[in-house]
Structures are given as structure tokens and as C-alpha cells.
């Protein structure tokens, strides 16, 4: 049984890759050009441009003379790399064995895959599904299915795809086609033309030993291909660990909003690709290429894997606002580090668990809004100072299988901590430092305390002092005398006096 190979071919690849990044140009007479200035030549043209007479190989000046409204774009390595990766990812959605043949071509081993497409012609249906998947990813690809890579590729390049070549019929399929479909080397093509060989079938009918003796190893291999024998096996690729998406910009950008406009589209495509592979982004890197030269790389770590493009864009915006690039941006690449999204087992009878995907998105948005040091799950810290705390990543355990009844309340009076403590002036009743008793609190009014809670008034009841000592072995040990005080009509406070400086602070309100 010979293997069945499908070829996913993206015609006019430089142009298709550009249109994937800039779909709004689809209705323009667009060409992809290579080279600079007067030496720039057209490498691919859309149907509108071709209708105006523009052909690959013309200089850009000639092309513009033929079509004044021509839109020209330089070949963009970033766009093409991202499009090629996206094409391979589409193929990997159908088969685990995919070969990257470059330049908009992917081969995939579809031996046995057709069983998932019941009907009178399963392989034809498989080909249609492949084309639909590629179309959904923004790439109008063609599909050919055969038993050899070359036959599959030739089939994919024919009109009215998908084209299926039955197993064993590769030679008869190729026979009527012109010889240039095999892509022979120029020298061999010239020799064969002199011999009067015009079609693949003519070439296949020549004796193999004579071809080998006259055309050498390359000629022998080409002859084998013409007879439907493709000696090259499918070489599966290793899936890349990272996802790239980016483009070179037509004009260098100096302000943020235009950059975010093009960045948004790239992030949308990136998230779509991550989703198609069942991944989410745990870390996003942004590589910026500057005008006239230089580049910059920045990295954004996410609290949890997410594939929400809006969240990623907000994080990029905040990062760029915090650290502007400092030079015009001529191109950019987003690199996503994939990770498996968090999963949770839902319960039928217990409390509803938070959706891991939504939680990751919410946390990322909160990080973007407030910063990572202001969002998390609180934890106490070893030590005695009440203002200290730690924040850890919020990863709640799964909810119980059955809804628990809430415990009876403990009815405890809570302390609202004042961070940082509010400095106050305290009048004491005794002059003896060992026996101080606050009798009146006065607020210190300066710039730092203007927006803080004002703690002032006559002390009605005072309880203390309660000593607190910490890190006596350190260079700056903490020694405080705490008091609980009630200020008439103004509430209950926790205040303390620093033993080292004698300064007084209010660090909590009983509330």
C-alpha cells in the first residue's frame, strides 16, 4: 500500500502572505515586489493587476506605467514566516505528520485520514475540508492528493481544486502535462527540448538507462518522477515551540495608536493560531525593529495562560507607555510562548468553579490595569508587624463536590490597617517615658497626610502599652509600644510609638 500525501499549496505566496496581514488590500490591484528603487521587480500580482497587464518580472516602474492605481508592497519575511507557520498549523489540524516545504507549500500524510470523511469520494471531501480550514485562517490554499509528493503538488496547482490522483495512476496523470510542471533544471530542460520531448509522458517513455547515461543522476531522478515514482519520502517536521506573528511596516511609526492598530490584527491572528492548537499564551515577547537600524526586545509575563487578544493588546499598550521605544518603529514581531490553558473539573452539585480561561483573562486585565503587585491572594508573613503581607498567585482549589453550609460567624471585630501608618502628634498625661498615657491626638497636616484619614481628638479611653519587638538581632530592629484608643465620637484606633525615634503613628482603625 503506497502512502497517500496531500499537498497544501498557497499560490502567489508572497502576495497571499501580505494579504493575510492586510486583508483590506484584497480589492486593490496589488503586487509584491523585491528589490529597491528602480531595480524593484514584481514577484507576484493579484488578478486585478494581472488584468491590467502586470506580470511577474516587470520592474515596478513598468508595472505602475501599466496600472497607475497599483499598490505595491515589498516582500515581507515576517509576514511570510507567519503565513507559512499558519499553513502548517492548518495541516497539523488534519494529520500529525506534516512536512514544511517552504514558500507556501506543506505536505501532509493523509493515509487513513479519509476514513473520517464518509461519502462517495472521501479523499475529495478531505481536500475540501482542508481548503475550508485554510480559508478560515485567511489563506486561499489549493489541495492536491496523490501517492507521491510531486504528483500531489502538481495536482494542487491545477485549476478547480481539490484534485485527487488515484493510487498507482500518478504516471498516467502526469503524462499529458507539459514538461515544465516537473520543474526541471534549465540545462536539462534545454536538452530535452532539443530532443523534441514536450510532455511528461514523452519523457517517461524514454529508456531509463539511456536517460541516466546521457543526463546523469539528476536526469535519472527526474525520469523516475515522470514515471510516477517519487523517491523523496515525506519528512515530518517538529512543531515549533514558539508562535511568531509580525510584519514590516510600510512607513515607520512614531506614535502609539497606529502601532496598536496594526498590532491588534497581528495579536488576533496569533490568538487564533494558539486556539487552533489548543494553547494559550503564558509569555509574550515583542521585538521591534527601528528606523534606520537597531532593534529592541521586551517581554510580558502573564499571570495565567490566556488567548484573549484584547488583554494582550492592553498589556502591550501599558508596556509601551511605560517604556516608549525611543525611535521610529519599522517592523515588529510578536512571539507567544505557548502553554496549556488551565482546566477545571466542574461539579454538578457543588458551587460553580471559575472558568479557568475567564479567570486567566480577568487576572491579566487586572494586572494590566493595576500592576502585578496589586493583585493576588493574600498571605500572612512571618513576623509581628501587622502592616506586612504577601501576595501569591491566585489559584483557588477546586470547589467542593457538594455545596458546604457556611460556618457560623465568629463575630470578630476587624482592624482596617492604615498603610502606610499615619503620623500623629500625641499629648500624653505623664512625663515619665515608662508610663505614657495618650490624652489627646493631633493630626499632622502636611503634604503627605493631606489625603490620609485624619486621626485627632480627645482620647476617651486608652489601653496599653502592648510591646512589640521584632528582629532585635538586625541593624534596624523594630520596637513599638501599641495603644488601643477611643477618640470621643471619632472611632477606635490602634496607635503606636516607635521606641527608637519617639514618633507616634496610627496604624489601624477598629471597624
Amino acid at each position: 500500500m503506497r502512502a497517500r500525501i496531500a499537498c497544501l499549496l498557497l499560490p502567489l505566496f508572497p502576495l497571499a502572505a501580505r494579504l493575510r496581514s492586510e486583508p483590506e488590500l484584497a480589492r486593490e490591484a496589488l503586487v509584491a515586489a523585491e528589490g529597491n528603487g528602480g531595480a524593484a521587480r514584481v514577484v507576484a500580482a493579484t488578478r486585478l493587476a494581472r488584468a491590467a497587464g502586470v506580470r511577474p518580472g516587470l520592474t515596478l516602474i513598468q508595472a505602475r506605467a501599466l496600472c497607475p492605481k497599483l499598490v505595491a508592497r515589498q516582500r515581507d519575511g515576517d509576514c511570510e514566516r507567519a503565513a507559512q507557520e499558519a499553513l502548517l498549523e492548518v495541516a497539523e489540524g488534519f494529520s500529525p505528520r506534516v512536512e514544511d516545504a517552504g514558500e507556501g507549500v506543506a505536505y501532509l500524510d493523509v493515509d487513513g485520514v479519509e476514513r473520517h470523511y464518509p461519502g462517495p469520494s472521501p479523499e475529495l471531501e478531505l481536500g475540501r475540508c482542508l481548503m475550508r480550514a485554510a480559508e478560515a485562517a485567511g489563506m486561499p490554499a489549493r489541495v492536491g492528493i496523490a501517492s507521491s509528493k510531486l504528483a500531489a503538488r502538481v495536482a494542487a496547482s491545477l485549476p478547480e481544486p481539490p484534485v485527487v490522483v488515484s493510487a498507482g495512476e500518478e504516471a498516467s496523470f502526469l503524462a499529458p502535462l507539459p514538461l515544465h510542471r516537473l520543474g526541471p533544471e534549465v540545462e536539462i530542460a534545454g536538452t530535452l527540448e532539443r530532443w523534441g520531448v514536450r510532455s511528461v509522458g514523452d519523457f517517461a517513455r524514454l529508456p531509463p538507462s539511456r536517460v541516466a547515461s546521457r543526463l546523469g543522476r539528476i536526469g535519472r531522478e527526474l525520469h523516475a518522477i515522470a514515471r510516477g515514482i517519487d523517491p523523496q519520502p515525506l519528512i515530518p517536521r517538529e512543531p515549533p515551540p514558539l508562535f511568531h506573528e509580525g510584519m514590516s511596516l510600510e512607513w515607520p511609526l512614531v506614535s502609539l495608536e497606529p502601532f496598536l492598530f496594526v498590532g491588534r490584527a497581528a495579536l488576533d491572528r496569533l490568538c487564533q493560531r494558539l486556539e487552533s492548537r489548543g494553547f494559550a499564551c503564558i509569555r509574550l515577547e515583542l521585538e521591534l525593529r527601528h528606523e534606520p537600524d537597531g532593534h529592541q526586545s521586551r517581554s510580558i509575563d502573564l499571570p495565567a495562560p490566556t488567548r484573549d487578544a484584547k488583554t494582550l493588546l492592553t498589556l502591550v499598550r501599558l508596556d509601551l507607555e511605560a517604556r516608549p521605544p525611543g525611535a521610529p518603529v519599522a517592523g515588529f514581531t510578536f512571539v507567544a510562548y505557548p502553554d496549556r490553558p488551565r482546566e477545571a473539573q466542574l461539579s454538578l452539585y457543588g458551587p460553580a468553579a471559575l472558568s479557568p480561561d475567564k479567570l486567566a483573562t480577568t487576572l491579566a486585565r487586572l494586572f494590566a490595569l493595576l500592576g502585578p503587585d496589586r493583585v493576588g491572594s493574600p498571605r500572612p508573613v512571618d513576623g509581628h508587624r501587622p502592616e506586612r503581607f504577601a501576595l501569591v498567585d491566585f489559584a483557588p482549589p477546586p470547589p467542593p463536590e457538594v455545596r458546604r453550609e457556611p460556618r457560623a460567624g465568629r463575630g470578630l471585630l476587624a482592624v482596617r490597617v492604615l498603610r502606610p501608618p499615619v503620623e500623629i502628634e500625641v499629648l500624653t498625661g505623664e512625663n515619665d517615658p515608662a508610663n505614657l498615657m495618650p490624652v489627646e491626638i493631633r493630626a499632622l497636616t502636611d503634604g503627605t497626610t493631606a489625603k490620609r484619614p485624619r486621626v485627632e481628638g480627645k482620647v476617651k479611653v486608652a489601653s496599653g502599652p502592648w510591646g512589640l519587638e521584632e528582629e532585635w538581632w538586625a541593624d534596624d530592629p523594630v520596637g513599638r509600644d501599641y495603644w488601643d484608643i477611643e477618640i470621643a465620637g471619632r472611632g477606635l484606633y490602634r496607635i503606636y510609638r516607635e521606641r527608637a525615634t519617639g514618633a507616634w503613628y496610627a496604624d489601624g482603625i477598629y471597624d
Binding site: 498571605r379 503581607f389 458546604r404 515608662a434 502592648w466 471597624d511
Partner: protein
């Protein structure tokens, strides 16, 4: 009948706003007879909870739960106002403790940055299920609250600390609408009325009385506070009902393991370890 009406206004029955667009489309395509019988899983869950009386988050603060007939209603904005030392923060923590010990995730948007994790744990909060958000401004606090509601948190507590700014009324209406759409309970603690017409219920903790123990030859000890909680507004019910609040000091036994200096008349119980050590006893 009045009670029935009141209950229906507090615990809102499933509406089109709760159903997803898919369910709404499907429902619209069905004949009238079948339309009312179609329930999404979310609506069914909500109806089952309502039927079992679990449509609200009990806070385990008896007066609060009694005034709201069971606790914080899901899908509603409830505002709790109170001045300093009125017990407002204690009620907020009690609500968080009740929700997290029941296995629900909860979020605290702490504009005053006043949470002490150790005290929160003492109050019974399961810290693993609590997300603590510390915004610096009211605008960010409101935005963060909306994100949390949309993110699916069943209970979101927004504490405005001691700030008296109230923000735009539209923002509060937006929060109330988000809470309703996502079936989240939203409890807002503020020193004065902030949410305007958006709140389904408003409770006010009145001025508290501190209770002290000691005097004469023993030192004063703060043992707790007592206050009056009043229902100022509740859709479908007459305001004016009141209840009594009482909160005890977490470490009235803060003198446990205390080193009492000679000569002190203080009597203390040996309880759990505490961070405070009295240096001198004041009589």
C-alpha cells in the same frame, strides 16, 4: 402576598438578560408552549438554588442576614454604609468568610488597602479562595470590580475605605447591570451613600459603642463594639427595620502568653499565641 413580592424582587427570577444569546435564539425559534419550558443550565441552577433557599450568600452576621432575608442576594448590588468603627469592615470580612468557607471564590476590591491577611484568616476567610485587589483610585476600583464580575466571581466585595468620593452614577448602574447579568452578588462598603439608585438594598451601620473591660486597678481592655444596623432601602420592602450588631475583639485574649509584669492585677486567659506582649500594665 407582600412577602412573596418582596422575595421576588430580591431574588430575581431568570430573565432573558441572564440567558446566553444562543439560548435566546433557540427560545425565540420555539412555539410559545415550549418556550417557557426551555431552561439553560445556568437558569436551571439558579432556579434550583432559589428553590432551596440558596439564592443568597449568607454572611453569618445574624442582623445583616435577617434584614436581607437570607443574606446577600445574587445578581444585586447591596450597599453597606457606616462611619469609622461602625463594624462595616467586620461585616465585609464576615461575608467573605462565609462565601469562601462554603467553597465559593470571592474577591475583595480594597480601595483603602486595609486588609490584614492574618486578621482575615482569624475571621475565617479561606485565603486560597480570596482574590485581593488593591486599586489606588476610585476609578480603577470601579473598573476592577466590573472585570471581576464579568470574570465570573460569584461574590465581589468593594470596600471604599474612608474615601468620600462617589464616582459617576453611571458607573454604579453599570456595575449593578453587570452583577445582574452575571448573577454575582456585589457588596459595596462606603462611609456614605455612593451608588445612588443602582443599589437594590442599602444598610446603614450606626455609630458604635465600644465596650471596655477594666478600670480602677486593672488596665482597660477593648473587648468589642456594638452598633445598630438599619435597613435604609430595599426594593419592594419598607425601610426602617433594624438589627443589633456585636463584634468581639479578635485578640481580647491578645494578652495570651503575655508576660505580665509584677504588680499587675490583670487576669488573662491562656489562649492561642499572640503577637503582642504588654510591657507594662496600666492601672
Amino acid at each position: 402576598m407582600t412577602a412573596l413580592l418582596a422575595r421576588e424582587t430580591i431574588i430575581t427570577p431568570p430573565t432573558a438578560a441572564v440567558a446566553s444569546p444562543t439560548v435566546r435564539r433557540l427560545r425565540a425559534s420555539l412555539p410559545e408552549v415550549l418556550r417557557s419550558r426551555l431552561r439553560s443550565a445556568r437558569e436551571l441552577d439558579r432556579e434550583l438554588r432559589d428553590a432551596a433557599g440558596a439564592g443568597a450568600f449568607p454572611t453569618a452576621v445574624p442582623a445583616f442576614d435577617r434584614l436581607l432575608e437570607g443574606g446577600l442576594p445574587r445578581g444585586q448590588l447591596v450597599e453597606l454604609i457606616g462611619s469609622r468603627s461602625s463594624g462595616r469592615f467586620s461585616i465585609l470580612l464576615a461575608a467573605l468568610a462565609a462565601a469562601t468557607t462554603a467553597g465559593e471564590a470571592a474577591a475583595l476590591v480594597d480601595l483603602g488597602d486595609g486588609l490584614d491577611p492574618e486578621a482575615a484568616r482569624s475571621a475565617g476567610i479561606d485565603l486560597q479562595r480570596l482574590l485581593w485587589v488593591r486599586p489606588a483610585t476610585l476609578k480603577k476600583a470601579l473598573a476592577a470590580t466590573e472585570m471581576l464580575i464579568v470574570g465570573g466571581f460569584p461574590l465581589v466585595v468593594l470596600d471604599l475605605g474612608q474615601r468620600r468620593g462617589r464616582g459617576a452614577e453611571a458607573a454604579w448602574l453599570r456595575l449593578a447591570r453587570a452583577a445582574r447579568a452575571h448573577d454575582s452578588a456585589l457588596l459595596v462598603g462606603a462611609p456614605c451613600r455612593v451608588s445612588g439608585t443602582a443599589a437594590a438594598a442599602v444598610l446603614k451601620a450606626g455609630r458604635s459603642r465600644a465596650s471596655w473591660r477594666g478600670g480602677d486597678r486593672s488596665p482597660w481592655l477593648l473587648t468589642g463594639i456594638a452598633a445598630r444596623l438599619a435597613l435604609e432601602k430595599c426594593r419592594g420592602r419598607l425601610p426602617g427595620r433594624t438589627g443589633d450588631l456585636a463584634f468581639a475583639m479578635a485578640d481580647a485574649p491578645r494578652l495570651s502568653r503575655a508576660r505580665i509584669l509584677p504588680g499587675s492585677q490583670l487576669r488573662v486567659r491562656e489562649q492561642r499565641p499572640s503577637i503582642f506582649y504588654p510591657r507594662v500594665a496600666v492601672g
